[in-house]
């Protein structure tokens, strides 16, 4: 667990090397009062920084609004067992579809049935 005992933290104590780079980056790059220096580098032009910044953004933030699965690591899907269950289900569904198709074709072959009956079968 990465929880740090905050009650033991000393005010502005020697910043531990373990302080998360992500925590520092998001703060250091945050636009506070911006003083236009003489050397201007748009930090967002730095490819590495852009990649890092992209890592900050959680799927929680945006994806759900778009109606897609924002929970990349949903516990129910994250375990191997759960994936296996989905795979199995897929396999069973494929078999079921194949079986239905076979049946459907057999019935079509067997009887030049009136339209109505056909529709029944294909449902």
């Amino acid at each position: 667990m990465t929880y740090r005992d905050i009650s033991a933290a000393t005010p502005y104590g020697t910043a531990p090397v373990t302080t998360s780079l992500a925590d520092i980056l998001e703060r250091v790059l945050d636009k506070g009062i911006v003083i236009a220096g003489d050397i201007k580098i748009d930090l967002l032009d730095i490819e590495l920084l852009t990649i890092r910044l992209r890592l900050f953004i959680s799927s929680v933030e945006t994806a759900r609004k778009a109606g897609i699965d924002w929970w990349e690591t949903d516990p129910a899907l994250s375990s191997r067992a759960a994936r296996r269950a989905v795979d199995e289900e897929n396999q069973q569904l494929r078999e079921r579809v194949a079986e239905l198709e076979r049946k459907h074709e057999q019935e079509l072959d067997a009887s030049p049935a009136p339209r109505r009956a056909r529709r029944e079968v294909s449902r």
Binding site: A15, G32, I33, F56, S58
Partner: protein, 271 residues
């Protein structure tokens, strides 16, 4: 066309030195700053008078490493970027030990100290306002993650896998509903944590949660908050966070770190 810029650029190249500004503070502690490591290849970290009690925390740095092209290519390198960012943070943190600070963005560079003074004195009212606001406070970071326990896969009973397509669709829908319910519950709890900590804070900001690229695939961060808390209320805040973390009803992993220099409360938009 670029003649106007030529003298400054030439001078910097000739002198081989640029002025890097880390933060603005009042008075400051020169001895403590002199002990701060500063950027590689630079001089010692010191204070630049900005008029009145305001001082800038500065360091002379070699233009061979900090001129535009050199700096750009160094920041493209993972190790150099990390060293640069950590140094900036270390100097800001050292300055914050002596009193309120306004941290400046990474790599705020001027061709000489006089240019830095000129640019910074123009912003004195803003600096003073921020320093007044953050005096006697520190920033604390509180993050909330979902925990993995419970919520096993539904419909894993083999017997359920046979049956009609309609039964299958029902199972899918139920699974979706369960998942949304869990997500909603986590977000609601996270919002409650944010509200509770905010009540103790002078100011608060919800940052974008970190993605699983940072947290790891098994940890979903649902809340990333920053809180400006007075030193007097720090103990209260830490016990509140501990209590919420230990509350089984929340079922959340809560992480708090600090104290930070007030990076998130200098008046800019959050990342």
């Amino acid at each position: 066309v670029t003649k106007a810029q030529a003298p400054a650029a030439t001078k910097a190249a000739a002198d081989g030195v640029l002025t890097c500004v880390f933060a603005v503070c009042r008075t400051g502690d020169p001895a403590a700053l002199a002990r701060a490591p500063g950027h590689r290849g630079g001089g010692s970290v010191g204070l630049l008078e900005l008029g009145g009690p305001l001082r800038a925390v500065t360091q002379d740095v070699p233009s061979s490493l900090f001129a535009e092209d050199a700096l750009r290519s160094r920041l493209e390198d993972s190790a150099e970027l990390e060293a640069c960012v950590r140094t900036h943070h270390a100097v800001v943190t050292a300055a914050a030990a002596a009193g309120p600070v306004v941290p400046l963005p990474l790599a705020t560079l001027f061709t000489e100290a006089g240019r830095a003074r000129e640019a910074l004195t123009g912003k004195r009212p803003q600096f003073t306002a921020v320093l007044d606001r953050v005096e006697g406070c520190a920033e604390w970071a509180v993050k909330v993650y979902t925990t993995q326990h419970g919520a096993g896969p539904t419909g894993s009973d083999p017997a359920e896998h046979t049956g009609s397509g309609r039964a299958y669709l029902t199972r899918v829908r139920e699974r979706e509903r369960d998942r949304h319910a869990r997500q909603d519950a986590a977000l609601t709890s996270a919002a409650r944590v944010h509200e509770a900590v905010s009540r103790l804070a002078v100011d608060s900001v919800r940052r974008r949660p970190h993605g699983t690229g940072i947290t790891g695939r098994d940890r979903v961060q649902v809340m990333n908050g920053a809180y400006l808390v007075t030193h007097a209320r720090t103990a209260e805040m830490t016990s509140l966070v501990t209590a919420m973390r230990d509350d089984p009803e929340h079922g959340l992993d809560i992480e708090a770190t600090g104290p930070w220099a007030p990076y998130s409360f200098t008046g800019g938009a959050s990342l």
